[in-house]
């Protein structure tokens, strides 16, 4: 396919988050913007957006949730007509919620994702990683992204929701439709609708055949101020589980595998020193933070000299913030025992990723299990690694040999 997009004139005034070279490696671009006289860039592309790149600015924006709202959280505007129809109001609470509703939207799901609550998925995640490795270990080669990373979060999430594991490929397709091919409006609409219709059928089925111990049933039976929560909330959280819980963690695991394939010294350090793991996982999350969220400006405001207008979109480039040399020494370097690491891979403020403890667990188990079974491995050919980017950055194909 020929790339017909207009060449980028200047990153400061015309950045294109879906430019193939930016998708594959956004860090030089972030750095160029961050170190310029204009560290908050602007583009007219995709109906316009602002792109802050300094840690301090990204964190300040995240804290000002009344001005920088979550009415729109994707890096592109929603497809026209998305809000219409019977379930047009289904969002992805609490990511898409603002106070005051944000409080109960978030309060209800936080206990499900607390560290002590997600610990119970550790063994099943390890078993799942081992089963994936069983499939390819004798071949001496595997796609660390498509054969491994891609399958882990979707199965963990399906298990939590209480839906059949054979939906894996379908879920992955829907999530990619919503998050990855964002310039394909029809695909986005179709994928979102498919997610809502699927979970609507799951809810209906549970009304007829009540179940226990799955998140959909728990949500359906949850009451707020004496009343069952609305169906839009139940469907919204299911939507969130897929859209925020699959592509994101899969991308993080994939990037970590890509890194480890190129760094035998880091594999060795991790194999030899169990005590290194906690800081190592945080450091890998810092350097390979996959997610950029968006905010919508509530009212005209000047922020760091930028004339932001009501309705403007601001891209919360957490991956750029995490590599700001003002905040992190040698920011592009992976230092597994980094002592000071206030990274914002999971955001900052009231929208801190609700699933962060689960994501951490999945990344750690995925890497531990792989290193135990396949201690030595390398990229087949760095030039053939393919990437997704824009909203979520990570490898989609990453062939390794061992």
């Amino acid at each position: 396919m020929t790339d017909t997009r207009k060449p980028v004139e200047s990153l400061l005034t015309d950045y294109d988050i879906f430019d193939p070279s930016f998708v594959a490696n956004p860090y030089p671009g972030y750095s160029e913007i961050r170190e310029s006289e204009c560290p908050i860039a602007h583009t007219e592309r995709y109906e316009g957006s602002w792109l802050p790149t300094r840690y301090e600015d990204v964190v300040a924006l995240a804290q000002e949730y009344e001005v920088f709202t979550s009415r729109g959280i994707l890096v592109m505007p929603p497809p026209p007509g998305q809000a219409e129809g019977a379930y047009g109001g289904v969002a992805a609470p609490p990511i898409t919620s603002d106070p005051p509703d944000h409080h109960w939207h978030r309060r209800l799901i936080l206990p499900v994702f607390a560290p002590q609550a997600v610990a119970k998925y550790e063994q099943s995640t390890r078993d799942l990683c081992n089963a994936l490795i069983d499939e390819f270990i004798d071949k001496g080669t595997a796609d660390a992204a498509a054969d491994y990373a891609q399958h882990i979060p979707v199965r963990v999430i399906s298990n939590m929701l209480g839906v059949p594991l054979d939906m894996e490929e379908t879920f992955t397709g829907w999530v990619r439709g919503v998050l990855e091919n964002m310039t394909d409006i029809e695909l986005r609409k179709r994928s979102r609708l498919a997610i809502i219709e699927y979970f609507l059928a799951q809810v209906e089925d549970r009304k007829k055949n009540p179940r226990e111990n799955d998140l959909i049933s728990e949500l359906m039976n949850t009451e707020v101020e004496g009343k069952k929560v609305p169906i839009e909330y139940v469907l919204g959280v299911c939507n969130l589980m897929l859209v925020a819980g699959i592509d994101t963690t899969w991308s993080a695991i994939g990037s970590v595998m890509w890194h480890m394939a190129q760094h035998p010294e880091h594999r060795k350090q991790l194999r030899e020193n169990d005590a290194l793991w906690p800081t190592a996982i945080e450091e890998l999350l810092r350097v390979y933070a996959p997610v950029t969220m968006a905010r919508i400006v509530d009212r005209d405001i000047e922020f760091q000299g930028c004339p932001m207008k009501a309705g403007d979109r601001v891209l919360m480039a957490f991956p750029a913030a995490n590599r700001d040399p003002r905040q992190f020494e040698n920011p592009d370097e992976v230092i597994l025992d980094r002592e000071h690491n206030r990274h914002v891979a999971f955001g900052s403020g009231i929208h801190r990723c609700a699933g962060s403890n689960l994501a951490r667990l999945e990344v750690r188990i995925a890497l531990q299990t792989w290193l135990k079974r396949i201690p030595e491995f390398e990229l087949v050919d760095p030039a053939t690694v393919t990437w997704a980017g824009g909203q979520v950055h990570g490898p989609r194909s990453c062939m390794v040999k061992f």
Binding site: L110, A114, P115, H340, R342, S348, S356, N357
Partner: protein, 58 residues
């Protein structure tokens, strides 16, 4: 100083000092002064909180 939003980076840096409440927000596990042997870890927790919600006083 910010407020805790449940990043849990304090509990990762100093699990003897910080834990998690039912919602996943930080819970201080010790009462009174930080024991000398845990001071380094506690300082590290302070330096790793993305919300700058931890202040250790002398």
């Amino acid at each position: 100083m910010g407020s805790c939003h449940g990043h849990q980076m304090c509990a990762i840096a100093a699990p003897e000092v910080f834990g998690s409440d039912e919602l996943g927000n930080a819970k201080v596990l010790i009462t009174g002064d930080i024991p000398a042997e845990l001071e380094g870890k506690a300082r590290r927790a302070e330096a790793n909180c993305p919300e700058r919600a931890i202040i250790i006083s002398e």
